[in-house]
C-alpha cells in the first residue's frame, strides 16, 4: 500500500502541475489565435494578447520565453491540426477522388483560417522560423499529398513541384483577391483534371 501512496502522492502531483500549466498555455494560445484572426498576424502584441487573456504581460512570460516562442507554439498547433486533417481516412477508393478530396481538405484548411495559413505556409512573420519539433507534423501532412499523387501515377519531382505551385496558387488567389468567396477554390476540380491529364501525356510520351 505504501508504494501506491507514494505513487499517488508524487507522480500525480507533477501531472496536476503540468496539466494546469498546459491549460494556462492553451488559454493564452487561444487568445492569441483569436487576436490574429481579428487583427491580423502582424498585430499580435503581448500587451493586447495579455489583455484578451485576462492577465498581464509578465504573466505571459512565465508561460512563454518570448514572443517568437508563442508563434512557435501556434505554428505547432496549426501543423498538428493540419496533420490530423490530412491523415483522416478517405471515403472513396478511387485514386483520383482521393487526391481531389485531399486537395480540398488542404484548401479548406488554408482558406478557413488565413492568419494560420500565413504563419504556416507563407514566411510571413519577420524574424520567426519554426523549430524542428513544430515543423515536423507539417512534413507528415505533405507526405500524404505526395502519397496520393503517387497513387495517381505522379512520381516525377517536377510534377510534384508543379502540383504544389498549382494548389498554393489557387489558395493564394482565393485569399488575396476573393476573400470569403469561391472564385478560385471552385476551380480545383478542373485544375486537378488538367494536371493529371498533363502527367499522363508526359508518361506516354517517354
Amino acid at each position: 500500500m505504501q508504494v501506491f501512496v507514494t505513487v499517488l502522492n508524487e507522480s500525480p502531483r507533477v501531472d496536476w502541475r503540468t496539466a494546469r500549466r498546459d491549460a494556462a498555455r492553451a488559454t493564452i494560445l487561444a487568445a492569441a489565435w483569436d487576436l490574429v484572426r481579428t487583427e491580423g498576424l502582424a498585430a499580435l502584441s503581448l500587451r493586447e494578447l495579455a489583455r484578451r487573456a485576462g492577465i498581464t504581460t509578465p504573466t505571459v512570460y512565465s508561460y512563454f520565453d518570448s514572443k517568437n516562442a508563442i508563434f512557435d507554439a501556434m505554428f505547432g498547433e496549426g501543423a498538428r491540426t493540419f496533420a490530423a486533417i490530412a491523415v483522416q481516412p478517405f471515403e472513396s477508393d478511387d485514386p483520383r477522388e482521393r487526391l481531389l478530396a485531399c486537395t480540398k481538405r488542404f484548401m479548406d484548411f488554408c482558406i478557413s483560417d488565413v492568419p494560420r495559413y500565413q504563419l504556416l505556409f507563407q514566411h510571413s512573420v519577420p524574424g520567426f522560423s519554426p523549430s524542428a519539433e513544430s515543423f515536423e507534423p507539417a512534413i507528415r501532412a505533405l507526405d500524404v499529398v505526395r502519397e496520393q499523387l503517387a497513387l495517381n501515377g505522379v512520381h516525377d519531382e517536377r510534377h510534384v513541384d508543379l502540383w504544389t505551385a498549382l494548389t498554393t496558387g489557387l489558395v493564394d488567389q482565393q485569399i488575396s483577391n476573393d476573400p470569403g468567396g469561391e472564385r478560385w477554390s471552385r476551380l480545383v476540380d478542373g485544375a486537378t483534371e488538367m494536371f493529371l491529364a498533363h502527367c499522363a501525356t508526359e508518361r506516354t510520351a517517354t
Copy 2:
C-alpha cells in the same frame, strides 16, 4: 521681345523647381528601394531611409506626406516598370510563343525583385493600399496577359483565373522555397503546355 522675356523668366523657373523636386524625390525613392531590397519591405523606417539618403527625417516629410505616400510612390514606380516591360514587342508571331514570352517576362519581373513583388502583388504592407493613379499601370500590364491568352483561344473567365493562379503559384513557390534558384521558374514551359492543352480540350468538349 518682351513677350519672350516673360516666358523665359517665369515658365522655366517653375520647371527648374519641379525638376529639382522630382530629382530629390527620386533620390529618396532610390534609397528606399535600396533599403527594402537589403532589409526587407517591413524594415523600411523613415529614420534609416533618411540616413541612407544623406538627409534627416523631417526633410523626408517635405517631399512625402507620410510613410504610406512613399510606399505609394514606390508602388507607382514598380507598376510603371511592369507596364513598360509588358508592352514591349514580341519577337515571335506564334501566339503560344508570345504567351510564353509574356509569362516569362512576368515571372522574371517578380523573381528579380522580391520586395517589389510583395509590394505590388501581395498585399504585404499593413495599412497600405495603393492609390488609383499608382495602380492604373498594373491594370494595363495585366491586360496584355489577357490579350495573349485570348490570342491562344482562352476566353473563359475561369480559365483566365486558373492561369493567374498557376503563374503566381509558380512565382510564389520559387521565391519562398528556392530563392535564387530556378526549381519552379523552369517549369513555366510545361505549365503553359498543360494549361493550353486543358483549355483546348474543354473547347472541343462543348
